[in-house]
Amino acid sequence: MVGKPLATIVSAGLSKFGRREGLYWRELFIEAATEAFDRCPNLDPRKDIKAIFVGHMGESYEHQGHTAPTITDWLGLTPVQGFRLESACASSGAALRCAVMAIASGLVDVVLVGGVEKMTHRSTAEVTEFLAMASDFPFEQWNGLTFPGLYALMATAHMHKYGTREEQLAMVAVKNHKNAAINPKAQFQRAITIEEVLKSRVIAWPLKLYDCSPITDGASCAILVRPELAKKFTDTPVHIIASAGATDKIGVYEREDLTTLLSARVASQEAYRMAGVEPKDIDVAEVHDCFTIAEIILYEDLGFCPKGYGGKFIEEGQPEVGGKIPVNTSGGLKAKGHPVGATGVAQLYEVYLQLTNQAGPRQVSGAEIGLTHNMGGSGASAFVHIYKRGD
């Protein structure tokens, strides 16, 4: 039996992703939040919203921390309480999990949840340093490992153990670019070929430029309410029927098996149990494809295919729109863009569009059950949510 709603999404908003010159993150967040407000005319933000939860990874980019009050202030919501969550690239997945817990606890009825990151005004070298802080310093960073390098270690191990090929990694990038090309909010609006991916310059062998998600500016937002109140705000609610989180060793090198993401396995198994659904019931999924190898490993660890078959799963077109489980219809982190703190709730935004039949040319016909998987760093944290279209 499908689980009962823990919280209900009554609206959502997303800024345009990409290079947003001349804007500060607080201004980007307003772009996402006002879309969510405009979609929900029955919401009176100042009267109804009782708490905000925002994912934001880095204060280094703008020398600006203390995220929650910066947002409540600029949105005109003060003195409402606010919380900033940091879990690297899973910051807004963490914010979402906390927002769900807040509502399920009965302490608050209506919350704003979101995430934000403004990155492109800093040099690639600076961004690389900021992001690297989410990995283990004394052994990984000290030995010259970058984020592409950490995922490259997983790729080499996966290729060695299961025979996964560079062409199969490239197919993930090609699929996600194809989806992003019909998503007006995506950073990249262009289809690419396998040859382009394979010929792109090496970043951390075996990963090349087109195996990596880009540096992006963006913000995401959603309004969550106690399920009983949903009808007051919308005729097209989306219920969150599972919410789970997990951690793994901060250092990739210490993990038992480099070909698997334990946090994804643990959080998704808990989420499937909570939701009363199985992987085969998922109609649409947004998963954390920070690198192409991550998406391949996630097909396996989220139970979309057996362990070791991730490469075959993409090669057979199973995660395409029209395939067995469409994955990253938004274009994913890879092509929609990856403003790290915003990503978790940006994944929710795509699933919300899909389950309310608002995804336009990339709509998965009849989608009823969706899943998001948001991952921090090299998988040391993960949050999985499962959604169901409301009546």
């Binding site: 690389t128 990984e140 270690l153 951390a204 480099l258």
Partner: protein, 135 residues
């Protein structure tokens, strides 16, 4: 010299590296060997740990060749970083000296640790380095 009674810290680990020793800690209760050393046994949570010197030899579990490095490694790129499973059990990452091409390394290849004293600077952290090289 690092005292054998020094606590199982990252700082002590790197002081041993400066002496050319790859050290781990062993749990006196369950026998688990840990590198990096941690204040609590990750297997049984015991605090009774002792330093042990490791041979510094092991096998490559996985590797990458970094072409786009962090700023502080720009002068040596491209360079290889491997995860090495030491013969005593723990796995640690390290730069493999002299390797710039993927065909020079293989999963399963035997490597050993070598050490480099880092001249003392004002910058944090003042840690010496270990590297690996193929045997």
């Amino acid at each position: 010299m690092v005292e054998v009674s020094s606590p199982p810290t990252i700082e002590s680990f790197y002081k041993y590296i400066a002496e050319g020793k790859l050290m781990g800690v062993k749990c006196k209760k369950c026998g688990k060997v840990m590198v990096p050393p941690k204040p609590l046994c990750e297997n049984c949570m015991a605090k009774d740990l002792e330093w042990i010197q490791l041979k510094g030899e092991g096998e490559v579990i996985s590797f990458t060749i970094i072409h786009v490095p962090p700023t502080s490694f720009a002068s040596i790129a491209p360079y290889a970083v491997a995860v090495v499973k030491l013969d005593e059990g723990p796995k640690i990452p390290g730069i493999v000296k002299g390797v710039t091409q993927p065909h020079q390394l293989k999963v399963g290849m035997r490597v050993k640790a070598i050490f480099e004293q880092i001249p003392s600077t004002q910058a944090w952290p003042q840690w010496s380095r270990y590297y690996f090289q193929p045997i």
